[in-house]
């Protein structure tokens, strides 16, 4: 776990490339896809943390995303609060809801956790649709003010690109720091062998709860960015459509890796847009891709690269032995 699978130079190169992209890309449409990709990276990290690191399949990321979006939007619209308050508030809302759901659902089995997280997403959408006094229901919340940075409003796609890039990089740094921390090592131990983890003195239930709560935090942050960027939200932000995309990104990218998932988020946002696949056909195809992927390559892209490298090394070693 000391170095990630592409090494540091490639990471800096990727960050440099991400910084330069708007200098090359001029079309507003492509810039929009790039901003959405950044938001998806944060969301994918949220799923990756629970699925890839803790080995818990959570179907709640769209719920935390939507809760973050609604928290931000309502605070900004009803109380005129600025972005530097609504963003942390959205993160905190995601964290608190995740903790509240995690306490009952993490006690039993991993199966019941999946069921509760899925039900929670469906319930969240139901509440957003039906509680019209608060959320205006299906009419949605229009006119959400854009974010401001030191009093300067963020306007235009390029400004938004850099703004969300900053938040995404901070999230990534936080994520890499987290998975290498003491808690991160405990999370991995719980995933590999829960009984062994308990024997080693790890409070497994608490570790899982913290992990899930942090994933809620990341989801809330992504939702807040989305609400202030698009400036309009409705109950569709809770849609399971996001979950389908996220699963594809995380699983095909390689759950349990940082850069594989970032690559997955980028590839599966940009490629379908460029190919201009109809959204409904896209989910249908994603279903097939997902089924094939879990059947054939459960390790995803990163797992495939790692396996190939391991095989090469083994082959090289064998050749060395012969010589």
């Amino acid at each position: 776990m000391k170095t990630s699978w592409i090494g540091h130079r490639a990471v800096w190169a990727a960050i440099a490339l991400a910084t330069m992209l708007p200098l090359i890309v001029r079309s507003n449409y492509l810039l929009h896809i790039m901003v959405m990709t950044e938001i998806y990276v944060i969301l994918a990290l949220s799923l990756n943390l629970v699925l890839g690191y803790a080995g818990l399949l959570s179907l709640a990321p769209p719920a935390f995303f939507g809760i973050g979006a609604y928290t931000s939007a309502l605070l900004a619209l009803r109380l005129n609060l600025p972005f530097w308050i609504t963003l942390p508030a959205a993160g905190a809302a995601g964290l608190l809801f995740a903790a509240a759901i995690g306490v009952p659902s993490l006690r039993l089995s991993r199966h019941s956790f999946v069921i509760v997280t899925l039900s929670f997403t469906l319930l969240a959408q139901l509440v957003a649709t039906k509680w019209t006094d608060l959320t205006r229901g299906a009419m949605g919340l229009p006119g959400i003010p854009t974010a401001t940075l030191f009093g300067i409003p963020v306007t235009g796609k390029i400004a938004w690109y850099y703004f969300v890039l900053g938040i995404t990089l901070v999230s990534l740094a936080f994520f890499t720091f987290l998975v290498r921390s003491r808690l991160g090592r405990a999370i991995l131990t719980v995933r590999e062998d829960e009984i062994l983890a308990q024997a080693a003195g790890i409070h497994t239930w608490k570790v899982k709860l913290y992990t899930f709560a942090i994933s809620g935090l990341l989801g809330g942050v992504a939702g807040s960015c989305y609400a202030h960027y698009i400036t309009f939200i409705d109950p569709a932000v809770f849609d399971f459509y996001y979950m389908e995309n996220l699963l594809i990104m995380v699983i095909l990218g390689g759950a349990g890796t940082v850069w594989g998932v970032v690559a997955g988020a980028a590839i599966f946002n940009v490629v379908p847009e460029l190919l201009r696949i109809h959204p409904e056909l896209r989910t249908f195809l994603y279903g097939i891709v997902l089924l094939v992927a879990v059947s054939v390559a459960p390790g995803g892209l990163a797992g495939w690269v790692r396996d190939r490298r391991a095989r090469k090394e083994a082959a090289a070693q064998q050749e060395g032995n012969h010589a």
């Binding site: 306490v103 069921i115 509440v127 699963l247 097939i288 089924l291 879990v294």
Partner: protein, 287 residues
């Protein structure tokens, strides 16, 4: 009005029971949560709509055809999404059935579009009154069918060879392999049985509500709550939990609000997980 709510709830509950029992049975025997279960319900409703409205055959025959079609689909689902992953990590089967659900739901959206469809049966116009409690013929049929289905299911699980093998597999898969029970075959049979019950629910309820590709999601949302309340894998537990939820929802909808009715299942599920994580009836009674 109170007894009317109880009657409505009982009928709604028996619908939940038909769907949830298949779900909990598959979990009890295979330790697999079938996330495509709601899609079986949705496709059953569409299948009934197709054969009944286009072929113009009698309703009972249409129900039988629907069940046969869905049992075939259940078999295909078992062979593609469940059996190949039985010995792999738990998330593989979850993801595989989830993928199947995505494929089926979006496939249905292509094939049938999102337009709500209606099935009209003569029984829905028959209005019966039992001391002031009004029930339509079709709703009464749902209740009677559910009771018969569960009697049949219990008989099948207790007496038939396949049923006994299912119970054996739910207790110890390794021992099954040792005495020559093919667990993969049991897996397919359990899925087919679950699909048949689910298809019965879909075909019975199709004339009561509008049919569109998302109906499976709503039903499975309630069924998950029922499965957890009854104890995962506990078939009689799921039946009772389904009736409790059906009646509870009917009362909440009648006396509180529609939002309270929709949130009841989830709230009860969380409550059960907090107080009795193994379900209302624990693990003692199983398949």
């Amino acid at each position: 009005m109170f007894f009317q709510h109880i009657a409505n709830g009982l009928i709604q509950g028996s619908l939940y029971a038909l769907v949830a029992v298949g779900l909990t049975l598959v979990y009890g025997v295979l330790e697999v949560v079938n996330f495509a279960h709601g899609e079986l319900y949705m496709l059953a409703a569409f299948a009934l709509f197709m054969v009944f409205s286009f072929l113009k055959i009698p309703y009972v025959l249409a129900v039988v055809l629907t069940m046969l079609a869905l049992m075939l689909l259940g078999y295909v689902l078992a062979r593609t999404a469940i059996v190949p992953h039985l010995r792999r990590s738990f998330e593989t089967t979850v993801l595989a059935t989830l993928a199947a659900s995505i494929i089926l739901q979006n496939g249905a959206r292509f094939a049938f579009t999102a337009t709500p469809r209606k099935v009209i049966v003569p029984l829905e116009d028959v209005i019966l009154s039992f001391g002031g409690v009004i029930v339509t013929g079709q709703r009464l049929l749902v209740l009677i069918t559910a009771i018969l289905a569960f009697a049949g299911l219990q008989l099948y699980i207790r007496k038939s060879r396949a049923g006994k093998a299912m119970r054996a597999a739910s207790q110890n898969k390794e021992a099954c392999r040792m005495v020559g029970i093919d667990v993969r075959r049991i897996a397919s049979q359990t899925m087919v049985l679950g699909a048949a019950l689910c298809a019965l629910a879909g075909a019975m309820v199709a004339p009561l509500y509008d049919i569109f590709p998302a109906i499976g999601t709503t039903v499975v949302f309630k069924s998950f709550a029922v499965v957890i309340m009854g104890g995962m894998g506990n078939v009689p537990g799921a039946m009772i939990a389904a009736l409790i939820l059906g009646i509870g929802e009917s009362l909440a909808g009648g006396y509180i609000s529609i939002a309270a009715r929709d949130a009841l299942g989830f709230s009860l599920m969380i409550l059960v997980l907090l107080i009795r994580p193994d379900g209302l009836f624990g693990r003692r009674v199983r398949v």
